[in-house]
């Protein structure tokens, strides 16, 4: 019977595609496992309290720590969030509730393109508009570069979360004689808060590990934080410079810093998962 043969054929095609996609998924997981395992094995042995609390020593001298770079990364992430969150959150609200469909489509497209721009291009852009005119590499310019990367992520995740809030909530609020902005802030945003927080965390995790934009803006600084208008060190920069240095000791510090950064990003991702699970069980 032909139907029998067709059935067998379908069954084998099904098995084949299932097998192929399983292999693809396996490759992705193995790669992730290798990266995590490799940084873990190489990094954890050099990680100690001294490394976290001491400042750097001149190249070639043994010892020294990465305290300044940890603080630098925190400052840069904080600065970028300060600049990006107001813009990103407002843009998300605009997209989901206030923009006319055509305008929204255009803005959404622009945000998606911006999110796809290679981070090194963003770095060059910040270099051109801030570092060159101000004649100095600076923490501020790095903050701006990271904020530019952050804005579209925050805007789009905020928009998506706000859209998930049922329209009936908006109408119920409007029917009470509440203005659209008060309804947004008092009813819709609280309903989307976990989703918005998730988006912010993801954006933070993304920019915490960015290196390319920092090369053109933060530059790196061996003396710790001096001013927002002076160069500043950061973990990704330290990994980049130390990994290329001829000194064994600096290689080890780079591994430890890489491990720290991976743990930071992994930690944020786990936090995000935990938050979104809270939302589901709510």
């Amino acid at each position: 019977m032909t139907t029998e043969r067709l059935y067998l054929r379908r069954k084998w095609i099904n098995r084949l595609t299932l097998g192929l996609s399983s292999i693809a998924a396996g490759v992705a997981i193995i790669l992730l496992g290798l990266i995590l395992g490799y940084t873990l094995v190489n990094g954890i042995s050099y990680l100690n309290l001294g490394l976290l609390t001491n400042v750097a020593k001149p190249a070639g001298e043994l010892g020294g720590g990465i305290r300044n770079e940890i603080i630098g990364t925190l400052i840069l992430v904080g600065l970028a969030s300060l600049l990006a969150l107001p813009v990103g959150l407002m843009a998300g609200m605009f997209l989901s509730d206030f923009a006319k469909p055509r305008v929204a489509a255009a803005v959404r497209f622009a945000a998606d393109v911006l999110a796809g721009v290679p981070s090194i291009v963003v770095g060059v852009f910040a270099y051109a508009i801030m570092v060159r005119p101000m004649h100095s590499y600076s923490a501020l310019s790095a903050g701006v570069a990271l904020a530019i990367i952050m804005i579209p992520i925050v805007a789009r995740t905020t928009e998506e979360s706000l859209r998930l809030v049922p329209n009936s909530m908006r109408e119920a609020a409007l029917a009470l004689g509440i203005t659209r902005w008060r309804a947004m802030l008092g009813v819709v945003v609280p309903g989307a808060l976990t989703g918005i927080a998730t988006g912010i965390m993801l954006a933070v995790a993304r920019i915490a590990g960015e290196t390319a934009p920092l090369i053109f803006t933060a530059l790196g600084n061996n003396f710790g934080f001096q001013s927002l208008l002076k160069p500043i060190g950061a973990l990704p920069l330290l990994i980049y410079t130390h990994a290329l240095s001829p000194y064994q000791d600096q290689h080890q510090q780079a591994w430890a810093a890489a491990f720290l950064l991976v743990i930071l990003v992994l930690g944020i991702s786990l936090l995000v998962r935990w938050i979104s699970r809270q939302r589901k069980t709510q």
Partner: protein, 287 residues
């Protein structure tokens, strides 16, 4: 039950207390609190309701009945300017509230919605808010700042009016979503009453509720007519007959738009409808 209501409304109409309570304008002109003139509503290019003229009396219950998709809901959403919030929503004609057109260019829809509240088909308490906050939301979010004492008074009064106070007075800080469906709907009624509207629109408020909860809400509506004007959309004809003073029957014309067929005292609409279409609908031959 209907008979009782009829007697009650006849008796009450002659008591001086009730007379003084009615709006002055209505006494003088014999006009309703809401006068709808040539109201048409569109969704983009689709004409949804056509040329509706109706006069809604104050402190009474007006039921709007008709087959599914005839534009009943759209009609009452035009009365508090909520239709224009929907995508492509557009309205022509006039709706006079106490003689003033709510669609006049100098009228802020937000102010209209404070005077004309609404209860929706699906109970829609704000899920992130407690019971207390739900009822207080209308006041809190229309002002910069409110005194806690005042909020407490308004919340208690509104919950009492909505016959929910006794059931929730010990758990005001619990989530509004933790209540049963019927309680949630009464919570939404309390929330609407808290901003002290003159008119309450109800869009099939009982269609998601069981018969007991429905009965509770119907009793509640009767009590509310002492202070409020109620317009209720329902596809339950028994409900319209039980609860309303006047009934409007809307149906779809041959172009798919909703038109008002007949409007009058509920007893007359149900006992001897003038229009053949009303009769067919009420006797269950259609819709």
């Amino acid at each position: 039950m209907k008979g009782e209501n009829m007697i009650k409304s006849i008796v009450m109409a002659d008591t001086p207390v009730n007379r003084s309570a009615k709006s002055l304008l209505q006494e003088e002109t014999g006009k309703g609190i809401l006068e709808v003139e040539d109201l048409s509503a569109w969704y983009s290019d689709f004409l949804c309701i056509r040329d509706i003229n109706i006069s809604i009396p104050a402190r009474a219950i007006t039921a709007v009945i008709g087959p599914s998709g005839c534009g009943k809901s759209t009609f009452i959403r035009c009365l508090n300017r909520l239709h224009e919030v929907s995508h492509g929503g557009r309205v022509t004609g006039r709706v006079l509230l106490d003689g003033k057109d709510i669609y006049a260019s100098d009228v802020d829809p937000v102010v209209i919605r404070r005077r004309i509240g609404m209860v929706f088909q699906k109970p829609s308490p704000f899920p992130t808010m407690s019971i207390f906050d739900n009822v207080a939301a209308g006041l809190r979010l229309t002002r910069l700042w409110s005194r806690r004492r005042e909020l407490e008074e308004v919340v208690e009064k509104s919950l009492r009016q909505a016959a929910l106070w006794e059931e929730v007075k010990d758990k005001l800080d619990r989530s509004g979503a933790s209540l049963s469906g019927g309680q949630q709907q009464r919570l939404c009624i309390a929330r609407a009453l808290a901003v002290q509207p003159e008119i309450v629109l109800m869009d099939e408020p009982c269609s998601a509720l069981d018969p007991l909860a429905t009965l509770k809400i119907e009793d509640l509506m009767r009590n509310l007519t002492e202070e409020y004007t109620i317009i209720i959309v329902t596809h339950n004809m028994q409900q319209a007959a039980r609860v309303s003073d006047n009934t409007a029957f809307i149906t779809i014309d041959d172009q798919g738009a909703g038109v008002l067929v007949e409007y009058g005292p509920t007893s007359q609409i149900f006992a001897n409808p003038k229009d053949k279409r009303t009769e067919d609908y009420i006797t269950g031959r259609f819709g």
